[in-house]
């Protein structure tokens, strides 16, 4: 019986899991190539690490420095990202097969068979653990294949899998607590982001060693599974106990989710549902208001992210400014990403590129909602009212653009607030304005791209749109770090937006982006006139 349940899970997931695992393994592989190309000598790596000690900003988005050997440096560069990918794969998997199935009514169908209430969850646990084990083994093999020491490589694979399993447990428990898969996914992603930041802060607050290549983290990192992963210190002390800790926590949480399931009815959660309104608010009065109502929660979440990025951009650029000139290695890293002149300008540019990615994610989520509405059948009810097809899609485009505007505004306002008291304020305010607006424009490219996919290939909307964001992020933000050729970054809208170099604004691909957005928006709306409803799946 459990075999049948596992088969069904595998059949539904194989492509998705293959892609997640492949992406993680590729990251390990490309990370090694990037390290050996960009920082070939021991001296290069020592310089970068000492720069990091001086400028802890970088540690928020990198790992824990343990030394300057190739393996140690690789851990510093990519271990947080490997574990993050495993964690995201696992939480989505956990929610998809528990609360997601339950919401769709499939759990009820299965629970009425001899499989009962618990067995499907047990099958999901086996499925999730197996996926992580495979991911871990392949990551280890990829690293060993790159001629790194095998003990550290196996440990890197093990911490990736163990972190995945720990967050898998978090996802399972969240799925028990929340009543909807959307709610469970948001809860786990917030926990995940918080855990990632806690780890970063724990490392920033750590004590550097005398040779400036190693940091003894503060106790804070033990509050985060990402911290446990880092404390294993692959290629350094190779400590297996953090792996065991992550595994135990993951499995205890998984067992806890089974226990929670025993305590509740199918279809219910532990957080009680509030009664709704008897009458609709006056504001809920048109298709655009409807779209806003469906997406505003998520948009506000993205805007909070945008504001955080904005304030970090200017607060930390000040910090970076203090050490500018002291250390050429830092400048070298940041130059690789931002290709700009002044160091402070570059820090702002890098952070606002991240804000642009957040804005693009929000826009894609709004447009993807159009497809979800269509598949779910609620689009049919709206389109059977006096609402034209073109107007219906246009309202999604408007709300997505509005979402981008909110996030860019939140990021820019937070950045201006962060500039208060800075002597370079006017110059940096110019950078914030130019780069912030430019990234907003880049995010609009994803709005129209998603709209075009929705019109032409409705069934692929969600997968293709997110893949585009992912590719643009990899090429635009990580491409230079991984040693990808310069020309490939030009395919990423995030990497062709206007920048400010030594106080002079360079428009770069602005007019191209404007052209793409205008043509794309017009084309999607014109094509929508010919498009009929594509209801189910």
């Amino acid at each position: 019986m459990i075999v049948a349940l596992l088969r069904r899970r595998l059949r539904r997931d194989w492509l998705q899991l293959t892609l997640w695992i492949l992406a993680t393994v590729l990251m390990a592989y490309a990370g090694y190539a990037g390290v050996t190309q960009s920082y070939a000598t021991h001296q290069d790596r020592v310089e970068v690490l000492s720069a990091v000690m001086a400028n802890p900003v970088i540690m928020m988005f990198r790992g824990l420095p343990s030394g300057a050997s190739e393996g140690q440096f690789l851990s510093f560069e990519i271990l947080p990202w490997l574990t993050l990918l495993a964690a995201l794969m696992s939480t989505f998997l956990a929610v998809r097969h528990t609360r997601g199935d339950e919401e769709a009514g499939r759990t009820e169908l299965l629970a009425a068979t001899p499989a009962g209430r618990a067995l499907p969850t047990v099958a999901t646990i086996i499925h999730g653990v197996a996926a992580n084990v495979i991911l871990g083994i392949l990551v280890a093999l990829a690293l060993i294949g790159s001629s790194l020491p095998s003990a550290g490589s196996w440990l890197t694979g093990a911490v990736s899998a163990a972190t995945g399993i720990a967050f898998f447990g978090v996802g399972l428990v969240a799925a028990q607590l929340m009543r909807t898969s959307r709610g469970a996914n948001s809860l786990t992603v917030w926990i995940l982001v918080a855990a990632f930041l806690v780890n970063g802060m724990g490392n920033v607050a750590g004590i550097p060693s005398d040779d400036l290549t190693r940091i003894a983290s503060s106790g804070l990192v033990w509050a985060s599974p990402f911290g446990w992963a880092a404390q294993a210190r692959p290629y350094d002390t190779d400590d297996p106990w953090p792996v065991v800790l992550a595994l135990v926590v993951g499995l205890v949480l998984a067992a806890g989710s089974v226990a929670l399931q025993w305590m509740r009815d199918i279809g219910e959660g532990f957080i009680p549902a509030r009664p709704g309104r008897i009458f609709a608010r006056p504001a809920l009065s048109g298709p655009h208001a409807m779209v806003w109502r469906l997406t505003n929660g998520a948009i506000i979440g993205w805007a909070v992210g945008g504001a955080l990025t904005g304030i970090l951009a200017t607060r930390l650029s000040g910090l970076a400014g203090q050490i500018a000139g002291q250390n050429p290695a830092v400048e070298q890293i940041l130059d690789k990403i931002g290709k700009a002149g002044d160091l402070q300008e570059t820090v702002v540019t890098v952070f606002f590129t991240m804000m642009g990615i957040l804005a693009a994610c929000a826009a894609v989520q709004v447009l993807a909602r159009a497809r979800q509405e269509e598949a779910h059948g609620t689009a049919e009810i709206v389109l059977a009212q006096p609402v034209g097809r073109v107007r219906w899609l246009r309202d999604y485009l408007l709300v997505a653009t509005f979402a981008i505007a909110i996030i860019v505004a939140a990021g820019m306002l937070a950045a201006f607030a962060g500039l208060a008291g800075d002597e370079d304020a006017p110059a940096l305010a110019k950078v914030v304005t130019v780069v912030g607006l430019g990234q907003g424009l880049a995010a609009c490219v994803f709005t129209v791209a998603t709209a075009l996919v929705f019109v032409l290939l409705p069934r692929g909307t969600i997968a293709i749109a997110w893949a585009l964001v992912m590719l643009a992020t990899v090429f635009g933000l990580f491409g230079p770090l991984f040693g990808l050729p310069q020309w490939t970054t030009r395919f990423s809208p995030f990497a062709v937006t206007p920048v400010v170099m030594n106080g002079i604004a360079d428009l770069r691909g602005t007019w191209w982006l404007v052209l793409i957005v205008a043509v794309g928006a017009a084309a999607s709306l014109v094509l929508m006139r010919r498009r009929q409803l594509h209801p189910a799946g």
Partner: protein
């Protein structure tokens, strides 16, 4: 009379599947028009084309004299629609959904008349507007769509299997509402696979099967097509001999069984009374039986010949011949 809906030779293909294979449908103003057919016959596809939600592959369609795909919005201003499979927003309450749909149709939801009508319908359908969409059962989702459609007056009501999921009490409430619509002079296209519902409510009926209209007419005309099944306790076939109108007479498991054209039933009753039959049971045919009986012979691929107007009588004659031989 004023034609509200008219299709001629309407076809729709999805890839290689012929969902509609030449539908000819006419609905006049003020009619309650039954649109009958088994699942998968093409009822919902036809309705979607009439609403401009799907594009026709061939043939003609018009609603209020307008072209449904091009003039969808103009048509929708005058139409209220209840989909066959109602989905609602999981995070909106039923009350919010009803108000939103009313506003999309241009109603002012603050008006006392709308509020009163909404309140009346919610009482009639015993509907709780405070629950969130995800908590509603199929029947309750159906009620959301029904109340939203009925709360704002329209010229044409398109109802796709509106009673599926409703309990018998609610079906009665629904029938009352359709009678009310009839009195106001509105036009109703009522799709259904339940013959008794259609018989109770409709002036005229079109029957669709495998993507084409196979019968269309008033109920009186169609009653000629329906046969009532009569059975009573008997042991020998002699009892059937005296009943002239009986078709397909058999004796099985101690019961005599025969069918009779609905018009001939009154003539049969005195005969049965004279014989003092016991265990008498008279069953009107279900739609399923009607289909099996009348169209079971041509379940093969349709030839493309034969039109709606002449296929009825010829089939009926053929059936009579077969029964007598």
């Amino acid at each position: 009379m004023n034609t509200i809906i008219s299709t001629r030779g309407l076809t729709k293909t999805y890839g290689r599947v012929h969902a509609l294979d030449g539908v000819d449908l006419e609905v006049q103003a003020g009619q309650v028009h039954g649109f009958l057919g088994p699942n998968g016959a093409g009822k919902s596809t036809t309705i979607r084309i009439l609403l401009g939600l799907a594009r026709r592959t061939g043939g003609e369609a018009s609603v209020f004299g307008l072209e449904p795909w091009r003039d969808a919005v103009q048509i929708h201003r005058r139409v209220a629609y209840v989909p066959g499979d109602v989905s609602v927003w999981p995070n909106l309450s039923g009350g919010e959904t009803i108000d939103l749909l009313a506003r999309l149709r241009g109603a002012r939801t603050g008006d006392a008349s709308y509020r009163a009508e909404r309140e009346r319908l919610m009482t009639a359908f015993q509907f709780d507007p405070r629950k969130k969409g995800r908590a509603y059962s199929k029947g309750n989702r159906q009620k959301v769509a029904l109340i939203a459609a009925l709360a704002v007056p329209a010229e044409l009501y398109i109802l796709d299997e509106p009673t599926s999921g409703l309990d018998p009490l609610m079906e009665v409430a629904f029938r009352d509402e359709v009678q009310r619509l009839r009195r106001t002079g509105a036009t109703v296209l009522l799709s259904s696979h339940i013959l008794s519902e259609v018989e109770l409510l409709c002036d005229r009926v079109s029957i669709i099967r495998a993507g084409r209209i196979v019968e269309s007419g008033t109920l009186a005309e169609l009653r000629h097509l329906t046969r009532t099944e009569v059975s009573f306790e008997a042991s020998s076939a002699d009892v059937l001999a005296g009943i002239a109108a009986a078709h397909d007479g058999t004796i099985e498991e101690g019961r005599a069984r025969f069918t009779v054209d609905s018009d001939d039933l009154p003539a049969v009753l005195p005969v049965l009374a004279r014989q003092a039959v016991t265990g008498l049971r008279i069953e009107p045919p279900s739609l399923e039986e009607l289909f099996l009986r009348h169209y079971g012979d041509d379940l093969g691929p349709s030839t493309g010949s034969g039109t709606r107007s002449d296929s009825g009588p010829t089939r009926r004659e053929r059936r009579h011949q077969e029964a007598r031989s």
